[in-house]
């Protein structure tokens, strides 16, 4: 009996009780760049996707002015939001004074003040993926289109949101499971993946006339499209994921033929490409492809001259530190310093790392991020 009593005491003394649950605080960490009072851009937001179902989409901020990195800024700035930023972040962009975070599995676009990170509003869009802007409107791709009679084939849509009222104004049906989109001229180009329909992937880029907000054309490109970026020469750079099996990821260039208004595929570069960032005349890219024979990922990095469409450097990392990166997952290039930021998502369920490389490819520093660091946007100095 006594023994039993002692054991109970033993258990109670060892076991800690529940604490009041505090909103998860931010963490500040110094990076090696030092203080730069005149830095412009002033900083860079990074959204960590968080694994599906974990509700661990978080927002980090790299402060160039003060030279530190802030982890998990959102819940510190917005402690009263129930269940924080949400589940699976998928894109981040700035337009005007507002920061837009697309939170895929929370089916919303979170709108924050770009300077402070304080919440302004949210726009509910089901299964939203990427966001771009044009003349006061935001355009958001969504895997969910009209609810059709055939449940096997719901096409995706692009939603148009007014950036002043933050209300959905209209939507237009595009291809299957649209991912990235971009504005070029008077048109919006949307990369359709068809990822829910494997193996019958979509292979088209939808062309939407912005004025009438109507899909006017579908351009066949390659299966399972993902990224689409416009360059300053009027070209479109489109990536495909392939079927993860026999058809590899690829990079395509679309241009207008002389005398025509329609874009067509002019080049298939046969370079696997998971993600890219265009800065000046350079296109920085990386690729990650699973190799069934070696049971490992094959990872590549490179730089393409967008004028010649030729690979000018077969890696932008020159000090051998690419082996530190398990799964590259995001890329951004500083418009002024030309520093290259690459994120490592590691095993998707632990903290990732943000690495900074100088333009010669030497690693400057690395900093711990949230889970699956992925999407980055620079914050320009206010005029």
């Amino acid at each position: 009996m006594k023994l039993l009593f002692y054991i109970s005491i033993f258990i109670l003394s060892f076991s800690s009780c529940r604490k009041i649950e505090i909103v998860v605080p931010s963490e500040y960490e110094l990076i090696g760049d030092g203080i730069q009072p005149d830095a412009d851009p002033v900083g860079m937001y990074l959204v960590n996707e968080g694994n599906m179902g974990s509700n661990k989409c978080t927002l980090d901020y790299l402060d160039f002015v003060n030279g530190y990195y802030i982890r998990n800024l959102y819940s510190e700035r917005n402690p009263d939001v129930v269940k924080e930023l949400g589940d699976v972040g998928n894109d981040i962009q700035i337009y005007g004074s507002k920061l837009y975070v697309v939170v895929n599995c929370s089916h919303k676009v979170e709108v924050l003040d770009a300077k402070t990170g304080v919440r302004i509003s949210q726009v509910d869009i089901p299964n939203c993926r990427y966001i771009r802007f044009y003349r006061g409107k935001a355009y958001v791709t969504s895997y969910v289109g009209p609810v059709q009679i055939d449940p096997d084939a719901p096409q995706g849509a692009v939603y148009r949101v007014d950036t002043a009222s933050l209300k959905v104004e209209a939507k237009v049906t595009v291809g299957y499971q649209p991912d990235e989109l971009t504005v070029l001229g008077e048109y919006l180009y949307v990369a359709n993946s068809g990822g829910y329909r494997a193996p019958d992937y979509d292979n088209t880029v939808s062309v939407i006339e912005l004025e009438r907000f109507k899909q006017v054309q579908k351009i066949p490109v390659g299966i399972n499209l993902h990224r689409i970026r416009a360059d300053k020469y009027g070209k479109l750079w489109v990536t495909s994921r392939g079927d993860y099996n026999t058809i590899h990821s690829n990079l395509y260039v679309l241009e207008k033929r002389p005398g025509y208004t329609e874009m067509v595929v002019t080049d298939t570069l046969n370079i696997p490409c998971s993600n890219l960032w265009i800065d000046d005349d350079c296109l920085y890219y990386y690729s990650t492809e699973w190799n069934n024979n070696t049971q490992s990922n094959t990872i590549g990095y490179g730089v393409i001259d967008i004028r010649t469409k030729k690979v000018i450097r077969d890696s932008f990392i020159s000090d051998g530190t690419e082996k530190d990166i398990k799964i590259p997952y995001g890329i951004a290039v500083h418009p002024v310093t030309k520093d290259i930021y690459v994120t490592d998502a590691k095993n998707y369920v632990s903290s990732g790392t943000l690495y900074c490389y100088d333009q010669d490819g030497f690693q400057k520093w690395g900093v711990r991020t949230g889970d699956i660091p992925a999407h980055m946007v620079f914050v320009n100095k206010e005029e």
């Binding site: 258990i11 605080p25 179902g53 509700n55 402690p79 949210q122 494997a198 590691k346 095993n347 998707y348």
Partner: protein
């Protein structure tokens, strides 16, 4: 990208002479031969716990971690000594319940209504007269259903129970037993469970200044269940032997409540399960030296999974599994102190699914075991070796290579004194688990090159017990074990290519060091008042040793608390029973990395129940009332799967 969606988702073959009479099955008789005693909950003690399913009852065992996704229909799996759910063998009336698809048995599906005893063994049941499969798991759980027994002059038993309570639970069940002849009895059992599964849960956070940041109470949706269980059995005795045959059918439709995340409070996943099996067992003592046992089973599982969420990918998949199993176990007693045994099992599994690119795997498993048991005075010794041969066939794509694996086990116990029941025990056991059909073949994720996952266990422990006659103390028992487990080639999900795409690889290494302590005592302070108390405590350090470059290297693995324990106090007085139970699960992390962003709070709940049995002319009547989570704690066992606040249940049982 959400392409990788995968839905979550005995007995006592003691001395035959003691079970020749169907009337009385004594489990005590067995303990003499046991080298490593088990943890048990049986009979009244089991009934008094506020447990709905087998999974709930297992929370009271030391070394066990339960994964509970919440609610009546929520998935509940157990993990013993942090080795992973797939290393646990679950046996229903002596034959393993297996699931070749994901290797996990959802213990939430097994009602306690017809279960008479649950016993848990670390390593294996230290009995050498058993099928080869019994030697094959790192830990084994035996569920024994009620066997018919008749009082003198009676040839029928009838029991009807009605339970109702929170979550809109309606749960009637009935049992009918009939004595066909002196040597044959039949049993029929049926149960229906219906619940909306709705319950309130609350999320509350404060900011560092101490002000409430948010405080939200919501209702858990899509956790409904409608399930039926039907069981029929025949039990017979023959000259120096017994046999039984049974049919089991479980049918359910469940909502899967899913994770609560920002802006999502309801999901659309549903699952229909049909789980049927037919099994039979025959045991005979041929002579004083030789006894033999034959088991056979045919099982059919059907799972239909649908995701109706119009915001997400439409999923509508049907999975079907079939299993055929036969086993023979034979034991020969060379000398009264020395037994040897040999068992051979054959199992065939097949799985079909209507998914694109499904490979339709079939698996042939042959198991051969040899074992010996020695009792030399104070020393008891058992050794066994199991050879497993696994061969998979697939319709298309590469088939994994055939496997031949040998796994040994040694068990030892030493009684220190003649007069005191105080003994030391130790065991070493090596086991493995085959990659499941999902690990090998699931759509884009599966990897047919996977190797088996191995576990090596070392255990050292002691047990002391004492009984008294007519004194205040009637019984006291304490056991303590320390252990070290090493898991290698652990099958883990590994990211591949881009965007949430995974594959399975043999990458993980885990070292587990733990201590289990459990004690029980019974006191008789006054006349007919008896008080039973049980306390158990587990300490576990389960560290990830996969790769020194990982930022979670040597961190505690997810969802394993360092400290956990439970306490039960039961008082009975003239047909009245009062039960109080307390469960504590300490702080833990919900992901591999032990950082504050992954921290999960401890939780502890108190449950109480009061029941009274009335003797009537026609038989007996028992009424009981339960309150669970008495202090209404808001907790998650699994991140984003909130558990119910305080809830109630009442039940009425009539026995004729």
């Amino acid at each position: 990208m959400m392409l990788g969606i995968c839905p979550l988702w005995v007995y006592a073959q003691s001395r035959l002479d003691s079970i020749q009479h169907l009337d009385e099955i004594t489990v005590v008789a067995k303990s003499f031969r046991e080298v490593i005693p088990s943890q048990k909950l049986s009979g009244k003690e089991l009934q008094k716990l506020n447990s709905h399913s087998v999974a709930d009852a297992l929370r009271y065992f030391s070394g066990v971690q339960l994964k509970d996704y919440g609610g009546v229909g929520g998935i509940k799996t157990v993990n013993i000594r942090s080795m992973g759910t797939n290393h646990m063998g679950v046996f229903y009336d002596g034959i393993e319940l297996s699931n070749a698809q994901n290797g996990q048995v959802d213990l939430g599906m097994y009602s306690l209504d017809n279960i008479e005893e649950i016993s848990l063994y670390n390593g294996q049941k230290s009995e050498i007269f058993q099928s080869a499969k019994d030697f094959g798991a790192a830990g084994t759980l035996y569920l024994r259903s009620r066997r018919p027994k008749f009082e003198d002059g009676k040839n029928t038993n009838l029991r009807a129970t009605m339970k109702a309570g929170s979550f809109d639970v309606i749960n009637p069940s009935a049992l009918f037993e009939y004595k066909i002849s002196e040597n044959v009895a039949a049993s029929f059992s049926a149960e229906w469970l219906n619940a909306s599964g709705k319950y309130k849960f609350r999320y509350r956070r404060v900011n560092p200044a101490g002000e409430i940041a948010y405080d939200t109470t919501a209702v858990r949706e899509n956790g409904d269940i409608n399930a039926t269980r039907l069981e029929a059995g025949l039990y017979g005795t023959i000259e120096r032997g017994t046999w039984n045959a049974k049919v089991y059918n479980y049918n359910s439709e469940r909502g899967i409540p899913g994770a609560i995340v920002n802006n999502v409070w309801r999901r659309g996943e549903r699952v229909w399960d049909t789980n049927s099996f037919f099994q039979g067992s025959f045991v005979k003592e041929v002579n004083d030296q030789f006894k033999t046992q034959v088991n056979a089973k045919y099982a059919f599982y059907r799972t239909h999974y649908v995701n109706n969420d119009d915001k997400l990918i439409e999923v509508d998949n049907l999975y079907k599994q079939r299993e055929v199993y036969v086993s023979t176990a034979n034991m020969y007693t060379i000398f009264p102190f020395w037994d040897v045994s040999m068992s051979y099992d054959f199992q065939w599994n097949e799985m079909k699914a209507d998914m694109y690119g499904f490979v339709f795997p079939t698996r042939f498993t042959n198991l051969l075991s040899i074992a010996t048991a020695l009792r030399l005075g104070k020393v008891k010794l058992q050794g066994s070796g199991l050879a497993t041969f696994v061969n998979d066939r697939v319709k298309e794509g590469p088939a994994p290579k055939a496997r031949q694996i040998l796994t040994p086990a040694v068990f030892l116990s030493y009684k220190l004194f003649d007069k005191h029941d105080f003994s030391l025990r130790a065991f070493y056991k090596k086991t493995f688990r085959m990659p499941t059909f999902n690990d090998l073949y699931y759509a884009d994720m599966g990897n047919s090159k996977l190797d088996p996952e191995y576990v090596t266990q070392y255990n050292l422990g002691t047990v002391y017990q004492k009984q008294w006659g007519n004194k205040l103390f009637r019984h006291f028992k304490i056991q303590a074990d320390g252990y070290y487990n090493y898991v290698k080639d652990k099958i883990i999900a590994y990211p591949k290519g881009q965007q949430f795409r995974w594959t399975m690889l043999n990458l993980g290494k885990v070292k587990i060091r733990g201590v289990d302590i459990s004690t029980e005592t019974m006191i008789n302070p006054w006349k007919d008042l008896f008080i039973t108390m049980k306390v158990q405590y587990t300490y576990q350090k389960a560290q990830d040793y996969t790769d020194p470059s990982d930022n979670y290297y040597k961190d505690q693995i997810p969802y394993i608390p360092w400290h956990s324990g439970s306490a039960i106090a039961q008082a009975s007085y003239k047909g009245w029973d009062l039960n109080y139970s307390f469960i504590y699960v300490g702080e833990r992390y919900n992901q591999q990395e032990n950082i504050k962003y992954n921290y999960t709070q401890p939780w502890y709940t108190s449950d109480i129940s009061l029941s009274k049995e009335f003797k009537m002319k026609f038989g007996s009547l028992k009424a009981s009332l339960e309150v669970n989570n008495l202090l209404s704690q808001d907790y998650d066992v699994i991140l984003n799967y909130p558990m119910p606040k305080r809830n109630y249940r009442a039940s009425l049982t009539v026995e004729l």
